[in-house]
């Protein structure tokens, strides 16, 4: 079976853990429990008859308290860079992390997720920001770990990109 390492990156509280938990265990918790170290989950996905084993690295949020170590990225074929649609500041962190990805694992596929789409009314990330990311060649998927919207799509899309 093909094995692929996927890393969840993003500012704190953007929903990295929630996205993985929704995808792997179909659960969602309103309570925010920050991730301290690294948590690795696995899930097999079947793409056009091909079974792929995803190793999902859920890393603590990147902020002044905990910086993501580039070593965590080694061997990664794909990276989700997660932005919290309701928090503009998480976009800046995402940009920093994209830099880290480019310099550490330049061949890894990057897919940007704008999470918390169930809270669209409170979004601070606007079409201008999204168009800007698109113009830089990034693929973007809007997700909600809470309502399980776009989550499967996100993982399938990334897997497809990693395989092609």
């Amino acid at each position: 079976m093909i094995k692929k390492k996927v890393v969840m990156l993003g500012s704190f509280a953007v929903g990295k853990t929630s996205l993985v938990q929704q995808f792997v265990n179909s659960i969602f918790s309103e309570k925010y429990q920050t991730t301290i170290g690294v948590k690795i989950d696995q899930k097999n996905v079947n793409l056009n008859g091909q079974e792929v084993n995803l190793l999902l690295w859920d890393i603590h949020g990147n902020d002044d308290y905990q910086k993501v170590k580039p070593a965590y990225l080694m061997g990664a074929s794909g990276c989700f860079v997660v932005i919290d649609g309701t928090r503009k500041a998480s976009l800046n962190v995402a940009n920093e992390l994209i830099e880290t990805v480019n310099s550490t694992v330049p061949n890894a596929v990057v897919l940007i997720l704008i999470n918390k789409s169930d809270l669209k009314d409170e979004w601070e990330i606007d079409t201008f920001d999204i168009d800007n990311l698109k113009s830089r060649g990034f693929q973007i998927i809007e997700t909600s770990a809470k309502t399980n919207t776009g989550v499967d799509d996100a993982f399938t899309t990334l897997t497809n990109l990693m395989l092609s």
Binding site: F12, I36, G37, V38, I40, W57, D63, A71, M74
Partner: protein, 499 residues
């Protein structure tokens, strides 16, 4: 007991120390006088630390260095009152507080040294065939893997309790691909191989990671790469204590940050709404000006036309005069609104230039002359000579006009108004004084907020907008000057500008 740790300390804790074991943080002042503590004191102190006591009374090792505390500083393996060993970190924060952090060292390092010794003696015994080496390791909570090749090791000793909770088929003495067992180790392996290849006795610690057990609970683990007498080992253990401390302080810090971000967001939203309001007011007052001015013009034209006006009876003539007065007032109000909303929006620029204060005062006096005459108010100023100040002449004249207008409004007939200029400590103080009705403290406190005075009537029944002083304050702020008011009921008020 402290509940909040400052950001720098949380950062220090997370960056420098995890995993924490037996964390105790004592907050002191520079002299070492205790202000509070956080965590478990019983590991190190025989008594609860009391506010006001000195830290060195609880930890004599610090005695030699107080006062004052030296920071940053780490004292290693200090024996405490309770005979535990601790690393003591001293950190100071922006707020002039000192943080003395105790970390348990009785465990980690010694445990590993212990293991190394037992591994060694076990090997000896195994070699002499006198004992099964397994029994030697039962007491340990570490999964011990003896490295035999690239990513491959053999489990030595018995399996620790925590390992049995994981969903794995690995047994004692099995060969394992350890990076498959714990994918996290793929990252640590890079460093571990480098370390093993140095062939020096010692150990290297990995970062922490989390595994899920069969029953769905979480295990926090860390690993040590060990080199001992030509053998390479990987010891994997549960991070028991300490992780809660790190979790709690980090959680607290991030919850706080989230709340702060929310507040900022609300503020931004509010600012946008306020800007909308100001833009609205600005547009409406701008567009209202022409029709109002037109009506005023017509009323004035009629009043000035002797022939036409004589056709009206007295009552109607009065009415026409009223129309003109009220329109004048409306125009004034409208202009102020327009001006005020643009000041709020920041739609103006202060161009400071050398200006003669004497000229400005004379101009303000001339503008106010008509109104002063109506109430028979006397005007004086102590400024006789040229005096230059750096101001935006248009805006500053507006300030003086507003202050004069305000003074006239609240000064009864036959009163007096003066503008005095004094230079003190290099500052020019301009005070606009009146012999008016004054105001109570509650009023003077909020006088500059715009709409403040609920537009109370003047002594001659003058109606006001309440905006004038708001405009004054905005302009003065934009100049980086100060304005304040001194007032006494029935004696009068002074508005003082300090440049």
């Amino acid at each position: 007991m402290l509940t909040n740790l400052p950001e720098e300390i949380v950062r220090y804790l997370v960056e420098e120390l995890p995993p924490f074991t037996g964390l105790l943080i004592v907050k002191t002042d520079e002299e070492g006088k205790i202000e509070g503590y956080y965590g478990q004191y019983v590991d190190y102190f025989t008594e609860e630390p009391k506010t006001g006591d000195y830290i060195h009374d609880y930890s004599p090792a610090l005695f030699s260095m107080v006062p004052p505390l030296v920071s940053p500083m780490v004292l290693n393996k200090i024996k405490s009152q309770t005979n535990n060993y601790a690393d003591i970190h001293i950190v100071d924060s922006d707020s002039d507080s000192y943080w003395v952090i105790f970390m348990d060292q009785t465990n980690e390092v010694e445990k590993i040294q212990d293991i190394l010794q037992k591994i060694n003696s076990g090997k000896l015994k195994a070699e002499t065939g006198k004992s099964e080496n397994n029994s030697l390791f039962d007491v340990f909570s570490y999964l011990q893997i003896s490295i035999v090749g690239d990513k491959i090791g053999t489990v030595v000793g018995s399996l620790p309790m925590w390992f049995r909770k994981l969903n794995t088929k690995i047994n004692e003495s099995d060969k394992v691909l350890y990076t498959e067992l714990f994918p996290y180790l793929e990252v640590f392996e890079y460093e571990a191989i480098e370390f093993w290849n140095q062939s020096k006795n010692g150990n290297l610690k990995s970062g922490i990671w989390t595994e899920t057990t069969k029953d769905g609970s979480e295990l926090v683990l860390n690993a040590y790469a060990v080199y001992y007498e030509d053998e390479k080992y990987l010891l994997i253990g549960e991070v028991e204590s300490g992780i809660d401390g790190a979790q709690t302080s980090l959680q607290m810090a991030r919850d706080q940050k989230l709340a702060y971000e929310k507040l900022e967001k609300a503020e931004r939203k509010l600012k946008t709404l306020l800007d909308y309001k100001d833009k609205f007011v600005s547009i409406v007052s701008h567009d209202l000006r022409s029709p109002v001015a037109a009506v005023l013009g017509i009323a004035e034209m009629l009043l000035n036309d002797k022939q036409e006006i004589s056709k009206l009876n007295d009552f109607n003539q009065d009415m026409l005069q009223n129309i003109k007065d009220e329109m004048l007032r409306l125009l004034d109000y409208n202009d102020k609104l327009y001006h005020w909303s643009n000041l709020e929006l920041g739609n103006f620029e202060v161009v400071k230039e050398k200006n003669n204060l004497l000229k400005i005062i004379e101009t303000a006096q001339r503008t106010a002359e008509q109104k002063m005459k109506l109430k028979n108010i006397r005007f004086s100023t102590n400024l006789k000579d040229n005096h230059f100040i750096d101001v935006d002449s248009t805006l500053f004249l507006q300030v003086m006009n507003n202050l004069m207008g305000n003074a006239i409004k609240f000064t009864p007939e036959n009163g007096s108004i003066s503008i005095d200029v004094n230079v003190k400590d290099g500052k020019t103080l301009i005070s606009v004084n009146d012999s008016g009705i004054g105001m109570p403290l509650e009023v003077s406190k909020n006088i500059f907020s715009g709409f403040a005075r609920n537009s109370s009537l003047g002594t001659g029944g003058e109606k006001g907008t309440g905006l004038g002083l708001g405009i004054v304050k905005k302009i003065i702020d934009a100049h980086n000057f100060e304005v304040f008011v001194e007032s006494e009921i029935n004696k009068g008020s002074s508005f003082i500008i300090s440049i």
